[in-house]
Symmetry: D2
Subunit: 154 residues, 4 copies
């Protein structure tokens, strides 16, 4: 699966740690990590995935030089906020960490496109699943991937 | 001013009526109406503005043929949801009527870009002003345009 | 019709004069002028149309502040070169004046989208019609609009 | 390096074979292959790279389902022709095989962005280097990467 991680370009050490663990788990589950390629949550998630041997894709608002150091494949869109649409559209599922209005717009777009969205301490948008930690977020997505519902029933 | 009206592509008769009155007011105030160019709120607002002699711009997700009959200038983006970014970015202010997740993503983007956003019975996003009817929405924007704050003080 | 004028952002006085006359003619024929909204050919064409009472639309690579002073409706895309696609896609026909590689890419895209393209001393791309002056360019487009071929036969 | 391969979505067996060999070489040189993700030249290049163990990225005009079977990472833009800008902007260099007007527009954009462009039996655009086969195309790019000019001098 291609999993998008969205969240603030600036974040607290706690959120950074959570994003790092999430990126690591995404890689260990064999998924490709997609994100906006900048700092904060995006960088921490990329580095977590990279350190675990995973593949990371940064879909950047501008040029490739903007990419954080853990982006493996840098997609330069030159399209500013419109790149958020590409992040969401390229993902099988979206995991949202704390972030501001850009994060909210990505969650809304993903739900509109009928993509599974998991909120990890992020915005509370109707239709998004909630997870208490990265482990639970991945579990939720693995169940969706297997065609199970949230109670573990097919 | 270029004012964007966002809201559902399908809507109730009450919302349609409100959008029509809003479009009319926008035109009577001498503003240009920008919208997504499709049906529902967009169509009603365009027709209200058009009937009052105003200029209407539809920024479409696909081809020009998608434009409702009251769009004066049809901008065909072929970019799907990414056209929402263009609508917001081209506006001096955004007025949101009832709509679903696409509307929420537009409000979030507009606030992120520091544009004034007025909610007319739409999503309750922190930072958006609330108006009870189209008249109040326009009044709020005219004050902003004059550099007055919401209490009428400069 | 919505007619796109494409060409260099910087140009010689002769080309500037030709673009100005072209813009004027587009307005006098009752067409809407669409362009990239910046300087050079775009500005001269906009000003020609504006002075003749026409409607001008500038589809900008960045923010609205980039628009030349004769743009009536400014569409801010924030999408850099990708805005070229929107210019072409929004036009019934494209008239190309001298320009560099951006102009060539717009002519190629327009031909790919099966839009009529008239070259006024611009790139020689297979499929583009050639006109010796703005008058002939408009005549060619009016014939297309009437469903006549280039020999004046239906 | 991230190298973009552009060319027709439909092609002859000879061009298909050339694209396949080119993809293979790009992978063997350790580069990432970027393309439009569809059929013809894009598919053949992706499959050549994939079979040699390389990484392939398809930047699609629409949904992920459009990707050819050899695309490793599928970026769904939903932006039609505007995705061409992203392909070019994400590449360190562009290699063009035979193709139609879409290919021409990509070559023109790449040259406008000052990216090295190598033409392999494709359009003859001023500024593009010419190579007679995939081996020579890669050699030209490796020299550029090393900061050598085309005569092998630094």
């Amino acid at each position: 699966m291609q999993i998008a991680v969205v969240g603030g370009g600036v974040c607290s050490p706690e959120v950074r740690d959570m994003a790092h663990r999430l990126g690591r788990l995404i890689a260990l589950h064999g998924h490709i990590l997609i994100c906006g390629g900048l700092g904060g949550v995006m960088e921490a998630a990329c580095c977590g995935a990279r350190e675990a041997g995973g593949l990371t894709v940064g879909i950047l608002p501008g040029e490739r030089q903007q990419a954080n150091s853990c982006v493996g494949i840098a997609i330069a869109t030159g399209m500013g906020h419109a790149r958020n649409v590409i992040i969401v559209m390229s993902a099988d599922a979206v995991i949202a960490l704390p972030g501001e209005l850009g994060t909210l717009s990505e969650m809304a777009l993903a739900l509109k496109m009928n993509k599974p969205v998991v909120s990890l301490d992020s915005w509370d948008v109707c239709g998004a699943l909630k997870a208490k930690d990265p482990e639970e977020a991945l579990e939720l997505l693995d169940r969706i991937d297997l065609g199970l519902d949230q109670q573990g029933q097919r």
